[in-house]
Structures are given as structure tokens and as C-alpha cells.
Amino acid sequence: MSAEPVLSVRDLVVEIPTRGGLLRPVDRVSYDIGAGEILGVVGESGAGKSMTGNAVIGLLDRPARITSGEIWLNGERIDQLSMRELRKRRGKQIGMVFQDPLTSLNPLIPIGQQLTETIREHLPVTAAEARQRAIRSLEEVGIPAAAERIDSYPFEFSGGMRQRVVIALALCAEPSLVIADEPTTALDVSVQAQIIALLKRLCRERGTAVMLVTHDMGVIAETADRVAVMYAGRLAELGPVREVLTEPHHPYTSGLMGSTPLASKGQPRLHQIPGSMPRLGALPDGCAFNPRCPKAQDKCRQNPEPRIGPADPRAACWFPLGETA
């Protein structure tokens, strides 16, 4: 058996009470991330990717809240901790990288000060040691002339350089888990390649567990070890990245992969999934994907799809592809 996972999420449910009724942006989601492993989370806009990550770090915006399920970090249950306790875990045990680097950086404080404050909050070091560490972590993420630029403000950096600073900030207290939500979506291809390579290298060297949220299948393929495909708040498929992307078991994963230009190479038309993802307030009965699914049968319209998790089948589907019925 492998070692205990760094992060373990079980049957997580996030609910939002609204005038129209109770919405479930995260519906019975279970997954593990091991040390040194990168879990990719993909899905269309509104599928619940960010909510899943934010629930783990206790960053849900009201009125969204966790209503059931468990979250374990390094063997400790954290979903019931107070906000204050959770804030301590953030930074020390969990680092965060978001799409917009400016959400993680204070525009009015030099980057070096932000780094040393985070380091000193979580590690027992002197101010001078913290500054040395801050310079080293900026060097590690590839900021040229780090010792000179440490007193610069965030606005003095380009978008790509800012995201490097955010990564330095996320990793400076040596957390065991990093949650990166669309870290390269706002960046150009060449800078994206730099940032992804950086994230991969640092996490591999330190054995950090990473949850990488993105809608870019290419980034997932090149970066993740395993992938979780989300649809309408639920996990549609969870498994090793190569297997899920090349031989999907869930018809949604298959449709998603098929609709990319690469999959239809040489053909005049792209493969289409009919319709669009339903809004949370208007989910169909049974399997959430059934109205768009080419394989749907009565069973799918009448019964919620089977649940998946680390020990369960790969696809939340009554009639998974690639398996003889």
C-alpha cells in the first residue's frame, strides 16, 4: 500500500441556499492527492472546479458552505476547523496560486516584505534569515537579480513575473499541498510554459501534493498524474491522466476530448456535444449528463449516476465506455 495521502476529500457537498431553492455546486465529491502527485481538475465553466478547491482552503464565499463530507489534510480533519485555525493551515500547510496574481499580492507592500512576513508567520526564523530565504525563493522561481528586486512593488513586474512571485509566496513556508486555480489562464503560451515547468519542478523536488484546476486539456495532459473531470458539480471521471484522456470511460469525457480541434484533425467539422451544461437550478433527474448523452437509457433518466471515488469505478456512468456490459 502507498503512504497516506496528503489530502483526502470524502463525499464533499457544498450548498448555496437561494430564493429558487438549494443549489449544490459541489455534490458528493471524493478524491485523494498523494505526496508529489499532481491532480488535474478539468471541466467547463461553472462545473464546480474552483468551489472544490476553495472548500478545501476554507475560502467559500457566503452563502456557500460545506454541508456534509470530510476533508483530511495530513491525517487531520480540517473541514470543521474554525476560520482562524484554517487560516493558520493556509500558508503553512496549504499554498495557493490563483489566476490573477494580484488577488494573492498586496499592491501596496513590496514583494520582499510579503514573503518575509509569510515566512516568519510559519517558520521560526529571524528577520535576517527570513530575508535570505525570501531572496532564495525568488531566485528559485526565476526572478532575475532577486536580491535587488526584492524591495520592488507588484506593479513593477510583468504578469508572468508576478505569477512567479505568487508561486514563491505559495511555496515559501514549504506547504505539503498547493492549490493552483487556473494559474496560467491569463498568460501567453510562452510564459505559461515557463510557469508550468516551474510548478512541476518545485513540487517534484519537494514532494508537494498539487491540485491543478484548469479548463485546458493540454496543460492537464502534460502536467497532471491523475485527472478529475467535473460536470455540473459532480465528478464524472477520475483516473490516471493518460487513460482518462485517451480511453475515456465517461461519455462526457469522451465528448469533451472529441470536441477539441486536435481530435478532429483533418476533418472539416468538429465533433459536437449537443446542448450545454445545465444550470445548477435546472439539473435533470437521474444522471446530470443524460439529456446530452448518446448512451442514455431509462436507467440514466431515473437513477442518479453511480458515485465514484478513489476505490470505486473510474466513471460515474451506468454504461461506461470501454467496458462490455
Binding site: 510583468s158 510564459v191 493540454g218 502534460e222 484522456l245 486536435l262 484533425k265 450545454s276
Partner: protein, 323 residues
């Protein structure tokens, strides 16, 4: 014959600080060359794609082609008429109605207080044309229903809104549609629907597209010819097959190498060097030379012109074999 012909197109923006600041801080005027000496043709009924990273000048070229922005130098002729110098109002009007534009953000580009019918008919009504039943017919053509004409934009998803934008663009029966990142805000599955629609309409109406995108896989699928921009300059132009199988310009090679691949499991890329330089003060000679692994002395001294190499056009001394 080419429907669109773009010659030595250049656009310079004045990005100086306000006059008073300049005087007090003793700053010189500052100019940014967003598009520099770009020339290409678009034959009728074909799709020409412009690719390049953020700030490379794609949208600025698009705006000059539709006449939203005057060029600083050079020009755009459409059907032999250059809008910037033409004086005959009838001719200007006829060219104007031949061109439409579709933007990236289907949310921002639809007036939220207008009904879909009025949005779609607007380009026709604004020219005093008759529009009875037009919106209904176009809605069905783009895969929505006639009854959607009475609804407001907020009642539609992102993909459906982009279909409405396409319907509006078709209303004046244009010959050329400039599409600026038409699917960048959409999910892949919705993107597939919109791209298919655009291909179908092109065949049906004999449309010509100038298709702007930073997504190489989308461009490969849609384009008949692709132009690659770097810092406002056209550095390579080729057919999709030639460009993807044998890119000639080191920048194109870098871009293709860096783009994540859906079949690139465990691929370790050597990430590209450096970042895009400040466009206000671009590098001398070939603007790519500080990041280029092939650069020779000539590259920083002289700017290479776009020249035919095989089936492609390339602006690189090394690719031209002229070092």
C-alpha cells in the same frame, strides 16, 4: 483576386504622459508601434488567420481592416477600394456594408437592454434597410429558434450569445467577417459548436474570414493561410500544413514547442527564454533576436524583411540563408 489586400500597414500610438507631466518631469513623448509594416492578401472565400501572443497587434490590425481605426502608414484595400483615401460616398458605403466584425466577449458586445431582434437587425436598419423577418430567419440559420427574437441577451448562455453575434454579423450580407478571438471566452464543447457554425456559414454564403486567435489548434483547424505576428510584425506566413509540419521562423518554432499538447503526456518542455520585450522600445534588427536560439550578429543589426522561402514567407535572416 484577393478580396482584401493589406500593404505596409503600420499603426503608431502616442502613449506619452499628459502634457503637464511631461513638462514637469521633463519626459520626452513616447510612441508605441503596435503594427509595423505588415502586408498580406486574403483571397475571396478563404480564411486568413492571425496568431500571436498578447500585444502582438492582432486586434489593431483587425480594427484597421474594418475601418474602426485609421492606419498611420500603409493601407487596406477591400475590393480595390481603400476606405482611408476613397472620396466617393457610395463606394465607401458599399465597402462598409461588406464588412462585419465579431468580438471575443459575447457578453460585452450585446446591448443588454435591447431585444435580440433589434440587436440582429441593427446593422441593416441603421442603413435604412428593410428588416421584416430577418432576425427570425438568421436565428434559425445559426441554430437558435425564431421565438428567441423576443428575448434579451441575459437569457442566453455564452455560446448562444456568440451565435447571436454571428447572426448580427450576417444581417447585412457581408462578404468579409473579421473575427477577433470569437471562441476564446467559450468552453471547448461550445467552441466546437460555434466553429462548426462558422465553417458552415462560410460555405453557404461564400464568406471570407480574417480570423484572429491566440489558440494554435483552433487556427490550424479553421485557416487556409496563417500569419504569425511578433511585436507588431508579420514574421511568418504559411499554409497550416507547412506551418505546423515545418515552421521556419524561430519564433513560430518556439510557440509550437511551448503550446501544451493534449497528447503530450509527461512531456518535458524546455521552456522558452525570456518574455516579450517592451513594445515602446523594441529590440533592434529582428525584434526576436534577444530570445532567439539561432541569432547571429546580423540579427541585431538589420531588420529582416518578409521573403518567400519555399511555400512560406519568413522574416528571418537564418531561415532566408542570408547571414
Amino acid at each position: 483576386m484577393s478580396l482584401v489586400s493589406i500593404q505596409n500597414l503600420t499603426r503608431v500610438f502616442d502613449v506619452s504622459k499628459p502634457w503637464l507631466n511631461r513638462v514637469i518631469e521633463r519626459l520626452p513623448k513616447r510612441y508605441l508601434t503596435a503594427v509595423s509594416d505588415v502586408s498580406f492578401d486574403i483571397p475571396a472565400k478563404t480564411t486568413y488567420a492571425l496568431v500571436g501572443e498578447s500585444g502582438s497587434g492582432k486586434s489593431t490590425i483587425g480594427k484597421m481592416v474594418v475601418g474602426l481605426l485609421p492606419p498611420s502608414e500603409g493601407g487596406v484595400t477591400i475590393n480595390g477600394i481603400d476606405l482611408a483615401i476613397e472620396t466617393d460616398d457610395d463606394k465607401i458605403e458599399s465597402v462598409r456594408s461588406d464588412i462585419q466584425m465579431i468580438f471575443q466577449d459575447p457578453y460585452a458586445s450585446l446591448n443588454p437592454r435591447w431585444r435580440v431582434r433589434d440587436i440582429i437587425q441593427e446593422p441593416v436598419v441603421a442603413r435604412g434597410g428593410k428588416a421584416t423577418g430577418l432576425a427570425e430567419r438568421l436565428l434559425e440559420q445559426v441554430g437558435l429558434t425564431a421565438s428567441d427574437a423576443d428575448k434579451f441577451p441575459h437569457e442566453f448562455s455564452g455560446g448562444q450569445r456568440q451565435r447571436i453575434c454571428v447572426a448580427r454579423a450576417l444581417a447585412s450580407e457581408p462578404k468579409l467577417i473579421v473575427c477577433d478571438e470569437p471562441t476564446s471566452a467559450l468552453d471547448v464543447s461550445v467552441q466546437a459548436q460555434v466553429l462548426n457554425l462558422m465553417s458552415d456559414l462560410k460555405d453557404e454564403f461564400g464568406l471570407t474570414y480574417l480570423f484572429i486567435s491566440h489558440d494554435l489548434t483552433v487556427v490550424q483547424h479553421m485557416a487556409d493561410r496563417i500569419g504569425v505576428l511578433y511585436l507588431g510584425r508579420l514574421v511568418e506566413e504559411a499554409s497550416p500544413d507547412a506551418l505546423f509540419d515545418a515552421p521556419q521562423h524561430p519564433y513560430t518554432q518556439m510557440l509550437l514547442e511551448a503550446a501544451p499538447r493534449m497528447d503530450g503526456f509527461g512531456r518535458e518542455v524546455e521552456p522558452p527564454k525570456g518574455e516579450i520585450p517592451d513594445p515602446i522600445d523594441p529590440p533592434s534588427g529582428c525584434a526576436f533576436h534577444p530570445r532567439c536560439p539561432m541569432a547571429v550578429a546580423k540579427c541585431s543589426a538589420e531588420r529582416p524583411a518578409l521573403k518567400t522561402v519555399g511555400e512560406s514567407r519568413v522574416a528571418c535572416w537564418v531561415a532566408q540563408g542570408d547571414t
